[in-house]
């Protein structure tokens, strides 16, 4: 280590520091410390003349360490780091002593505040002697994005990134993009037809020259880090040649095998074994459901092959593994719907006339199984319908959170029933959460349409012997039990995280919040970033939200991707963990404690840190039993020196 030549700069901060700390005494103490060449006091160290004073001393006195005793490093560390760097001193030779927040502002007694400031400065000077130069590393960026999930969030994010000029892979596991929004009939509060507003976006995404759709595909592996991820995607065999298929639909028409459609039609309708999930599917290319296709199960049929005019059917097609290189990833995997059978009191599954909200969307949709007519399972128009809010939401026995969209879609359903049938609607709710633009107005409108509102959670649904449904609830306004018999019940069931969220979170090394949704980097200020640089969140995968909020969130995620790509290269902080190979015994303790999978064993069995993944927390350094890992800029030596500096006396032995 070269001989330290330390300059100490004590700031008065106007009078913020000097009013309570004897700054001259602190500077005087500093002058007597080992290695200190100069100690000065100035009124505003962070102002231009203060910075210039430091720079001048570095040049003329040959300082190689600088200690600034002023405000919190959280405030001005970057300022002073830059100031010293401007005159060629490595910024990691700077150390700060926080004598404002931690001394002058927090102490009542001038003498004690001065004594504490002195200790803090001594700690900083001792530490500075052991500081070492570090260089941030730069790496080029692969300016291509990956979007996982092709719901409205993923479509919006992909389009925004592509429009900014960067290529995008859009991975969707279903045969078509569109997500839940493609299943909806109309959207609150404006009641525009869902597919009429989503369809054009789907088409744009499908034909955009910068977007490559990978449908019927899934993410298998993610490695690397921000700017340079490598991902592996499995493109499942469609059994249809995408180049040859012209989307005529003849195969689907002629296929003799009918299958209950639990996906798009939510169990209310049927599809064929070769199918497009819906007429407006993008891409307009069918898939063969190999579990049900008679050729795959019994080895005969081949009707689709016979009728296909372009010879596109390919029974031998194999899954394809694609290795992609991308600079940023947007997760837009949306939500699942909680199964109301989880709470027995709703009798879900015991009568075909007890529907979930999503099933009702299919029932009321013109493209749905009844052509949009609201009919009971028996094919009769219902006379009375009950709509139950908060089924599974805001319920400690299911999901404690509010799913945010159900109040509004339940109101929409009430409106649709009133519009299309003469049926009486009973709406059971706890609180009406009409929080968005135009939402309260929509609530007013539905109230005027003659819907009966009962304040109280629909507590129980019973299936009566004659097939009628009895709903019981406590009317909180009247303070008594109410009981209505109806022909149909719609359960506004909760949204929940996708069942494979765990796997996805592990693949991408991102966290989950306690309620199970993917975790954002900050609940207020960084809602579309994750704790892993370069991976962003869009839409309901982060938590329940409606379409307008989903679209804004997706655009925010796209903006982060574009911002990253515009930078052109990434800077990797040098304050990472470093292994001293001679000391490492390969025990693997560090690998266990690292939350970022930044440490691996190399071929010699020794720990090796990937500096691009390491976030510099230092947990591994503290855990290493061989003291073989150093947390750069927070090394054992540096911290020990600081401890010794803070505490005046040193014992002989302990």
């Amino acid at each position: 280590m070269e001989e330290p030549r330390i300059g100490v700069y004590v700031c008065e901060c106007g009078i913020n520091i000097s009013a309570m700390v004897d700054v001259q005494a602190v500077a005087e103490l500093a002058r007597r410390l080992p290695g200190v060449v100069v100690a000065r006091v100035y009124k505003y160290m962070c102002a231009k003349p203060g910075q210039q004073m430091i720079q001048e001393d570095i040049r003329t006195l040959g300082l190689n360490r600088v200690v600034v005793a002023s405000c919190s490093p959280r405030m001005h560390e970057p300022t002073f780091q830059q100031a010293v760097a401007e005159v060629g001193l490595n910024p990691y030779y700077l150390q700060m002593a926080n004598i404002r927040e931690h001394a002058s502002w927090s102490t009542e007694d001038r003498q004690r505040a001065t004594a504490k400031a002195g200790r803090l400065v001594r700690g900083a000077v001792f530490r500075a002697a052991y500081q070492a130069p570090l260089e941030p590393r730069r790496a080029p960026i692969t300016k291509t994005a990956l979007v996982v999930g092709g719901g409205v969030a993923g479509i919006q994010a992909a389009l925004s990134i592509a429009e900014a000029g960067y290529p995008v892979y859009l991975v969707e596991r279903e045969p078509s993009i569109g997500g839940r929004m493609a299943q909806l009939d109309k959207t609150f509060p404006t009641l525009d037809c869902s597919l009429c507003i989503l369809g054009p976006k789907m088409v744009d995404a499908g034909r955009h020259p910068k977007i490559r759709l990978l449908t019927y595909s899934e993410l298998e592996e993610v490695s690397g880090c921000v700017g340079n991820f490598r991902v592996r995607v499995r493109k499942r065999a469609r059994s249809v040649d995408e180049q040859k298929c012209n989307g005529c639909g003849l195969c689907q028409e002629k296929c003799p095998t009918k299958v209950l459609d639990t996906a798009y039609e939510a169990g209310l309708g049927q599809r064929k074994a070769i199918y497009r999930p819906f007429a407006q599917a993008i891409p307009n290319i069918p898939v063969i459901d190999r579990q049900h296709c008679q050729f795959f199960t019994k080895g005969r049929c081949r009707v689709c092959e016979k009728v296909c005019p372009t010879g596109a059917i390919d029974f031998a097609q194999q899954d394809q593994i694609l290795e992609l290189e991308v600079g940023a990833i947007v997760i837009a995997t949306g939500y699942a719907l909680w199964d109301p059978a989880g709470l027995a009191q709703y009798s879900y599954g015991l009568s075909p006339n007890i529907l979930t909200g999503l099933q009702f969307e299919r029932l009321v949709s013109a493209s749905g199984p009844t052509g949009g007519q609201i009919l009971t399972f028996e094919g009769r128009p219902p006379e009375r319908i009950a709509i139950l809010h908060c089924v599974g939401s805001r319920d400690v026995n299911a999901k404690p959170y509010c799913s945010r969209i159900c109040c509004m879609y339940a109101l929409k359903h009430a409106h649709q029933v009133r519009e299309k049938t003469g049926a009486q609607v009973y709406q059971f709710y706890m609180d009406m959460r009409a929080f968005g633009k135009g939402y309260e107005e929509f609530y007013q409108r539905v109230q005027e349409e003659g819907v009966v509102f009962v304040r109280g959670r629909g507590a129980e649904v019973d299936v009566l012997p004659d097939g009628k449904l009895r709903v019981r609830a406590e009317d909180a306004n009247l303070g008594r039990l109410v009981c209505v018999d109806v022909d149909m019940v719609i359960l506004a069931s909760a949204m929940e995280p996708q069942p494979d969220t765990d796997r996805l979170a592990a693949l991408c090394r991102i966290g989950r919040s306690p309620d199970g949704w993917l975790a954002e980097a900050h609940p207020k200020l960084r809602p579309s970033e994750t704790a892993t640089a370069g991976i962003f969140l869009a839409g309901c995968c982060q938590g329940p939200r409606d379409i307008p909020d989903t679209v804004s969130h997706a655009d925010a995620a796209a903006m982060h991707v574009v911002r990253l790509f515009n930078q052109g290269e990434i800077t990797i902080s040098p304050t990472v963990a470093q292994v001293q190979v001679e000391k490492c015994v390969g025990c693997g303790e560090c690998i266990l404690v690292c939350a970022y999978s930044a440490i691996q064993r190399n071929q010699h069995g020794k720990a090796e840190v990937n500096p691009a993944l390491c976030q510099g927390c230092g947990t591994c350094a503290a855990a290493c039993p061989s003291q073989a890992i150093q947390s750069l800029h927070f090394t054992d030596q540096q911290l020990v020196a600081q401890i010794d500096g803070l505490l005046e006396e040193v014992f002989g032995t302990l």
Binding site: E101, H102, T619
Partner: protein, 146 residues
């Protein structure tokens, strides 16, 4: 006894929660005991047993480790390690005759400036009632000092 006992306490504060909490206490001009000398670490998970022992060796009468609340660690799970490690160090301390109460772990978020003040005051009280660590170890009182 000669002059009154002025305890010396080292407080390891994680950058993201507790150090910020301490800063915010200062910004709000809340008074906290000057006996407590903060060291900023990026995460409470950085605080190794060696660092804590070094504090005692260097004359600290108490060591405070403050981090983000469980679930809030900026580095996801660094503080889980801290939560496991500190009780172990406390056991080691009592083994060598140091009252384990001289080491305290707690969680202070950046929004909890009053909690920072409360914990540091409490801890200084505790250390005062325990007396100087040299006394506990039967070591002679420091003469003169540096």
């Amino acid at each position: 006894m000669g002059e009154p006992f002025e305890p010396r306490i080292v407080a390891f504060l994680c950058n993201w929660c507790s150090y910020t909490g301490a800063d915010n206490a200062g910004i709000a001009r809340m008074k906290s005991p000057p006996e407590v000398l903060p060291i900023r670490v990026m995460c409470s998970g950085r605080v190794s047993p060696e660092m804590i022992l070094r504090c005692f060796r260097a004359g600290a009468d108490g060591v405070l480790v403050l981090g983000c609340h469980i679930g809030d660690c900026h580095y996801i799970s660094g503080n889980h390690r801290t939560a496991k490690r500190i009780p172990l160090v406390q056991r080691l301390l009592s083994y060598v005759g140091i009252n384990p109460e001289r080491l305290r772990l707690d969680w202070v978020s950046s929004a909890e400036a009053p909690k920072f003040v409360q914990i540091t005051n409490e801890f200084v009280q505790t250390i005062r009632s325990l007396g100087p660590i040299r006394q506990e170890l039967g070591l002679p009182r420091m003469g003169g000092g540096r």
